[in-house]
């Protein structure tokens, strides 16, 4: 029992040391989303999360109505029902606050351009802002009932940008949750 307690204390100490170490250079933002103007600016978070804002507030968030979305009007076989970017906590709108390509460059930061700028026509992008559950129930042979490695949001399991992307993820190409080798990411859902 004493041995177990000792092992536990060693583990706790190690975890604490790791936590302190990572506070110095937070690995969660060591990626393309680290938009610090320079070494003098302390928080990589502030670009998206204003320190004086309400908890969870995001600096720039697009409004849903401006976007043309991928829904049944684009592909008749789409079964996700009504597409609404403002549901599911509006998590896709958080991304589109910058990635709609309309954000003016600010001091030290340039607006997303090239492949990172999606514009406001999302009809040629993978659908977001719909219930995966609803889609899956309508097409059980085409969609996995238990998607692997990706994240769905809310009680009706909505598919948003963050389903595939983890914006804080370091070191993964295109900040993806699942490696694309052998199309692992696509095949998480598509049967």
């Amino acid at each position: 029992m004493a041995m177990l307690a000792r092992a536990f204390s060693v583990l706790a100490f190690t975890l604490a040391a790791v936590a302190v170490g990572s506070a110095a250079e937070n690995p969660r933002v060591v990626n393309v989303h680290n938009l610090r103007a320079g070494p003098g600016e302390d928080s990589a978070c502030a670009t998206c999360h204003p320190p004086d804002g309400a908890p969870g507030q995001i600096a720039s968030q697009g409004s849903a109505g401006r976007f043309r979305v991928f829904d049944a009007s684009v592909n008749r076989e789409f079964r996700g029902g009504r597409v609404d970017l403002s549901e599911g906590g509006g998590s896709s709108l958080v991304c589109l606050g910058c990635h709609d390509g309309t954000l003016a460059p600010t001091a030290g930061h340039s607006a997303p351009s090239g492949s990172a700028s999606l514009g406001m026509d999302l009809a040629n992008d993978h659908p977001v802002g719909f219930s995966y559950t609803r889609s899956q129930i309508a097409q059980p042979k085409k969609l996995n009932a238990f998607p692997r490695g990706v994240k769905l949001f809310g009680p009706d399991q909505r598919l948003e940008c963050q389903t595939c992307h983890d914006v804080h993820q370091p070191g993964v190409r295109n900040l993806l949750r699942v490696d694309t080798n052998n199309s692992g990411l696509c095949l998480s859902c598509h049967l």
Partner: protein, 226 residues
């Protein structure tokens, strides 16, 4: 208190059974898209060996994403967005099998639907297999133009007709065409049009060449042709 435990256990086993039922029901179809890995529609890599068996061995595929040779999650060709297509499509450039080829053809107007145009974006042999609709080459995929038997060109008058209404054809020839094609085959749109993917399942190599059903005793042909 004592009765709660058997109830909880029963609930657990019922949940497990339901889960297996769902997985079991889905299993004949599970991962059918992944069947494309290693096939001729898997264009990952460079050089001849991506498609051709050199020295009797299997084709050599590169690493990475299979789907990306045809599909893209972002910035797809706006002219072919329903399937998030990455290649250029060329409507209006194909000579089709119609009444001018065979006076008995009764399928009415012939217009390739988008699903067939997607196939032709590679199989007309006009553009290298790894060049997207913006003209940019993707180094992850083989950079050659379609050649050999897969290259149909732009003159499709020597291929089985596509882009016509099966139901129009069938009602004109009720004794020669099945009222409804075999369930494995697919017709497209409100006009029940016959297109490339009527016979071909591009992700599934089980019945070569990517056919939706076996050709033993010409089952595929006689499924429609009486």
């Amino acid at each position: 208190v004592n009765t709660a435990k058997p109830h909880a256990a029963a609930f657990f086993w019922i949940c497990l059974a339901v889960q297996f039922l769902i997985i079991g029901a889905a299993s004949p179809f599970a991962q059918s898209k992944s069947l494309v890995l290693g096939t001729l529609h898997d264009l990952r890599g460079s050089g001849c060996s991506v498609c051709h068996n050199l020295h009797g061995g299997p084709p050599v595929k590169g690493p990475g994403d299979v789907c990306g040779a045809c599909h893209t999650p972002h910035r797809a060709n706006p002219a072919a967005s329903p399937l998030l297509w990455v290649r250029a499509i060329r409507p209006g450039t194909y000579q089709t099998y119609d009444r001018s080829v065979n006076s008995e053809f009764a399928g009415g107007d012939v217009n390739l639907s988008q699903v067939s145009l997607l196939c032709m974006s590679c199989h007309d042999g006009a553009v290298a297999l790894n060049v997207d609709f913006t003209g940019t080459a993707n180094a992850a995929y083989v950079g050659l133009v379609m050649h050999g038997s897969g290259r149909l060109g732009t003159d499709l008058r020597g291929s089985h007709p596509i882009g016509f209404s099966y139901s129009v054809s069938q009602s004109a020839n009720p004794g020669r065409l099945a009222t409804v094609p075999p369930p494995a085959l697919r017709l497209y749109g409100p006009e029940s049009k016959l297109e490339c993917p009527t016979c071909h399942d591009v992700h599934n190599p089980t019945n070569a060449p990517f056919l939706r059903m076996g050709q033993q005793n010409s089952a595929l042909c006689v499924g429609c042709h009486l």
